[in-house]
């Protein structure tokens, strides 16, 4: 299992290189994923519980929006994750395109449905927040529209990676779309500044001007941590599946399957 990738023996930085090459080799990564996904998943669950308790019970109601602002605790982390996952997907896809890394292709493919899920959460919760606050479930606002485009990009990547019979060509096609779509990330981020939008600007990540009550802020930070850990755990689950499937003819998969 160990000797899957032979390190180049005489290179100077070979110790670090070897470690890295091992880490990204499918059998090693599979074992790493199996060991860590459960722990990360449980930690995420604990943080979700703490964040929800803080956000729904302990935090005071907002002076303008009343209790409806509590949607923030799932909306903002989901929206942040939708963009973060896209960046991870594009980076993984690029590594697959440039260096033909199998792990890169597997990670990119695993990111697409997760990113779509976060984007969907951000859109649905945003819409449920928009109705009482703006009076409409949906408006063609720059922020909302660019986030919808992000959903289409994720779905497009999922569809392309299924579209061709040859899995590696399909991965490459999806990777090109993923990398090209990166242009949408700054558009989403700056949409609230570039256009006159209904969506509010950042209120947490503003330096030197703490504008949020601590009892409101702490649950939000916990929720951000929970979403990130959840993403890692769910990603490891998906990547391990993907690796088993892609490498089904290899020795290490046979060994894993035998148990």
């Amino acid at each position: 299992m160990r000797a899957h990738i032979d390190p180049a023996p005489d290179l100077p930085q070979s110790a670090i290189r070897t470690r890295f090459h091992r880490f990204i080799s499918p059998p090693w990564f599979y074992r790493f994923a199996a060991r860590w996904s459960g722990r990360l998943g449980w930690s995420a669950l604990l943080l979700f519980a703490a964040g929800a308790c803080g956000g729904l019970v302990l935090a005071p109601p907002d002076y303008q929006m009343g209790d409806s602002y509590r949607i923030l605790y799932v909306h903002a982390p989901a929206a942040w994750m939708s963009m973060f996952v896209y960046a991870v997907m594009a980076a993984a896809a690029a590594s697959g395109l440039i260096w033909h890394l199998k792990l890169g292709e597997a990670v990119a493919r695993a990111c697409a449905p997760l990113g779509a899920a976060f984007t969907l959460c951000a859109l649905v919760t945003g819409s449920l927040w928009g109705r009482p606050t703006w009076g409409a479930y949906w408006v063609w606002d720059a922020r909302l529209t660019s986030e919808l485009v992000l959903l289409f990009l994720f779905v497009g990547c999922m569809a392309l990676s299924e579209a061709l019979d040859d899995r590696r060509s399909a991965s490459r096609a999806a990777a090109v779309l993923a990398v090209a779509g990166v242009v949408n990330l700054p558009i989403i981020h700056f949409s609230v500044e570039w256009w006159n939008t209904l969506h509010q600007g950042a209120s947490v990540a503003r330096f030197g001007r703490p504008s949020v009550d601590t009892r409101m802020l702490i649950p939000l930070l916990i929720m951000f941590a929970a979403f990130n850990l959840y993403f890692l755990a769910a990603l490891l689950n998906r990547v391990s599946c993907e690796l088993l499937d892609r490498e089904r003819r290899t020795q290490w998969v046979a060994e894993v399957a035998r148990g």
């Binding site: 998943g41 929800a52 729904l56 019970v57 109601p61 009343g66 209790d67 409806s68 509590r70 949607i71 799932v74 909306h75 989901a78 449905p113 997760l114 899920a117 969907l120 959460c121 649905v124 919760t125 449920l128 927040w129 109705r131 009482p132 959840y230 755990a233 769910a234 689950n237 998906r238 391990s240 599946c241 088993l244 499937d245 089904r248 998969v253 046979a254 894993v256 399957a257 035998r258 148990g259």
Partner: protein
């Protein structure tokens, strides 16, 4: 308690958001685990035959 569930009149929006997020995230976490179990069973069968 009833006051907590009423969410100041925003119950549908607040609980709707939390329910959607919970459902989507649980599904995203569980689906690959189920698929992996199935895949491993299938591969173990292939290895034996």
């Amino acid at each position: 308690m009833a006051e907590f569930f009423a969410m100041g009149g925003y119950a549908f929006y607040v609980w709707g958001s939390y329910a959607t997020v919970t459902a989507v995230l649980v599904h995203q976490y569980a689906a690959p685990l189920i698929r992996r179990r199935k895949l491993l069973r299938e591969l173990a069968g292939e290895a034996r035959s």
